[in-house]
């Protein structure tokens, strides 16, 4: 454990500070955009130099590593995320038309100063429930490692690294966004 946070410290992003609250609120509002299928508004949260990836995980012994490999389920830049969003806005992206009903739960948020001035390295846990058509719940869980960049009073997502818990995705497809 680190020293107790000074919640009055305007430069700190430890839990309890104003900055931490803003970061958490940003992630909650982002989740709401996804769950409301407001894809264009969601895309507006990303910086043009975004790299958004979800590596494939394998099942292996701890001594061999964390199981994440250099093949991904998602490996996106600004243009390809924009393409996904444009696609979801057509009425013929059949995997999401009619759309999945999702609930993005975001928790375990921890923030620290990021790689550049004005950036924050933010990790969070996610649990996403999805129900499609008349089917039961599908569950996606994992961790996101984000870099949030301050732009005035707002943030842009400059990096998103999605670490899934499953080695075999047991949920039909990955037509939702994380």
């Amino acid at each position: 454990m680190s020293e107790p946070a000074d919640i009055m410290d305007e430069s700190s992003c430890d839990p309890g500070t104003r900055l931490y609250g803003r970061i958490a609120e940003f992630l909650y509002r982002e989740a709401d955009l996804l769950d409301s299928h407001r894809y264009a508004d969601w895309f507006a949260l990303f910086a043009p130099d975004i790299r958004y990836d979800m590596p494939v995980r394998i099942n292996e012994f701890r001594a061999r590593g964390d199981g994440f490999r250099d093949i991904a389920f998602f490996d996106e830049n600004y243009a390809s995320l924009r393409t996904r969003v444009k696609r979801l806005e057509t009425d013929s992206a059949w995997a999401e038309s009619p759309p999945s009903r999702t609930r993005h739960f975001v928790s375990n948020i921890l923030a620290s100063p990021g790689p550049q001035a004005g950036e924050f390295a933010v990790q969070s846990s996610f649990m996403i429930t999805r129900t499609r058509s008349d089917q039961g719940y599908q569950l996606f869980t994992g961790k996101r490692e984000d870099v949030l960049r301050s732009e005035g009073e707002h943030f842009k997502i400059a990096r998103r690294h999605i670490l899934v818990d499953q080695t075999v995705i047991t949920n039909t497809n990955l037509s939702i966004l994380f």
Partner: protein
């Protein structure tokens, strides 16, 4: 090569009755384009497939490049049987049932590793990576003749073969050799996997489960007709042409033993769509590795999707991965493992020419990962279809009806096709599906005669 030698499974057709009295031959009539919906989501059919198809067909296990070093291993499955695919300390690739000879425990519990010995955690039985039982814990407690270690090696597949880096195995000791079984398809495998001297798998497969019959996926991997409708969302984005006939300019080819494929042309005069999207800098290599007619065929086409019966596919495609990139070729290998009648485990690998430049590697990978696999902007819509086909084929009323596989029923073969097999012009048609179901019916039409043999 006489065709009869290369055909595993039954040599004469016998009637196969289902528990409701129906005969498979009556409800599956490929020559008429009538395939019963019953065969897709029915547990009885699934159980028969396990013995009659998966316990004797050659099945895909992996690619040599996945286990390049001695001791490298990956775990796979064939039907419901778990497999460990390992390159032994002697450099030889083997495939074993991933199960200890003592209590049957799953031996390798990770997806990949490098090991000299495979040690069972249960009672400590330890096997060399070449399969022999090296030691058991507490051996002194066994009396004379009780632990015959030389007879307790890992259970190996009956036959294993490697062709152009592709590793296949079969549980049927009487199966033809891999080369004979591949037969005419080798000419095309040589093109797709040998065009520039060889291809390699990059990284690990994406693996995911879909609530569908495996056969709806298999059916889809030889279907050009669906592309415009299923992937319609990509038309307004400029990733697919606004022409319902755009993927029809090619040939379907049926080969022996149920192997099938397509060769489809791209829009004429567009360099990105020639040679299946392999960059022009690599084209000089075609002359070193392909015959002139193979090289002409490859250079003149944009897409080749092939199935090595029953459940392994290559997809050599050309697409941009997003609205701003240029189209580029990529090679995607696919496998469907049926888990139940209505649930299937999908494997998707990315492969590329060994001699690829780093630019081509990156562009090809990005195009693949953005368009195919479970998150792919093409592929995710296919999974929706497979699930919806399956869920609507379960009920008793649906099972009384057939699907419709009649397109091109009266089409004549194209005598000018330069390669082996029977080729039909116009790549919109259901000739390859009918050939696949024909082989399915043949394999399903007799019980497994030589199952249960001890190695």
């Amino acid at each position: 090569m006489p065709a009869s030698k290369a055909r595993p499974g039954p040599t004469k057709s016998t009637f196969t009755c289902l528990s409701n009295g129906e005969r498979l031959e009556t409800i599956v009539r490929p020559q008429e384009g009538l395939i019963s919906r019953r065969i897709f989501a029915d547990p009885e059919i699934y159980e028969m497939e396990q013995d009659r198809i998966f316990a004797r067909a050659w099945f895909f296990l992996g690619h040599e490049s996945e286990i390049p070093k001695n001791g490298d291993l990956v775990t796979r499955s064939c039907g419901r049987d778990p497999i460990v695919l390992v390159r032994g300390d002697d450099g030889i690739i083997r495939a074993f049932l991933n199960s200890c000879r003592h209590r049957g425990t799953r031996l390798c519990r990770t997806d990949r590793d490098n090991a000299h010995f495979l040690r069972c955690p249960y009672h400590g039985w330890s096997y060399r990576n070449t399969g022999e039982l090296a030691s058991a814990m507490g051996e002194s407690h066994y009396g004379p003749g009780e632990l015959e270690k030389d007879k307790l090696g890992l259970i190996a597949v009956a036959r294993l073969g490697v062709y152009r880096g592709l590793i296949f195995g079969t549980w049927d000791g009487s199966a033809p050799s891999l080369e004979d079984w591949l037969g005419e398809s080798r000419w095309y495998i040589d093109i797709i996997f040998g065009r520039t001297g060889g291809v390699e798998i990059v990284g690990v497969p994406q693996i995911w489960d879909v609530d569908c019959s495996w056969k709806f996926a298999t059916d889809n991997f030889t279907d050009n007709y669906h592309v415009f409708s299923t992937h319609q969302s990509l038309v307004p984005l400029g990733l697919l042409p606004n022409d319902p006939d755009f993927a029809c300019h090619g040939h379907m080819v049926t080969l022996g033993n149920g192997h099938i494929l397509h060769f489809v042309k791209g829009p004429p005069g567009v360099e990105e769509f020639e040679a299946m999207g392999v960059p022009k800098t690599l084209w000089p290599k075609f002359a070193d590795h392909l015959s002139p007619s193979q090289a002409d065929l490859f250079t003149g086409h944009c897409i080749s999707v092939g199935t090595l019966w029953p459940n392994f596919h290559w997809m050599q495609l050309v697409s941009a991965g997003d609205m701003e990139s240029k189209p580029i070729g990529f090679l995607n290998l696919r496998l469907e493992i049926p888990l139940t009648a209505t649930r299937t485990r999908m494997y998707s690998w990315f492969a590329i020419d060994v001699s690829a430049s780093s630019e081509y590697r990156t562009a090809s990978y990005e195009a693949y990962v953005r368009t195919f696999g479970p998150a792919g902007i093409y592929d995710q819509d296919d999974m929706q279809n497979w699930e919806d086909c399956t869920s609507a084929s379960i009920g008793p009323a649906a099972k009384r009806y057939t699907m419709h596989h009649k397109m091109g029923l009266h089409r004549q073969r194209d005598p000018n096709w330069p390669g082996p097999g029977v080729a039909y012009a116009d790549s919109y048609g259901e000739l390859t599906q009918r050939a696949w179901y024909g082989e399915w019916l043949r394999m399903m039409s007799a019980p497994f005669a030589n199952g249960g043999q001890s190695p």
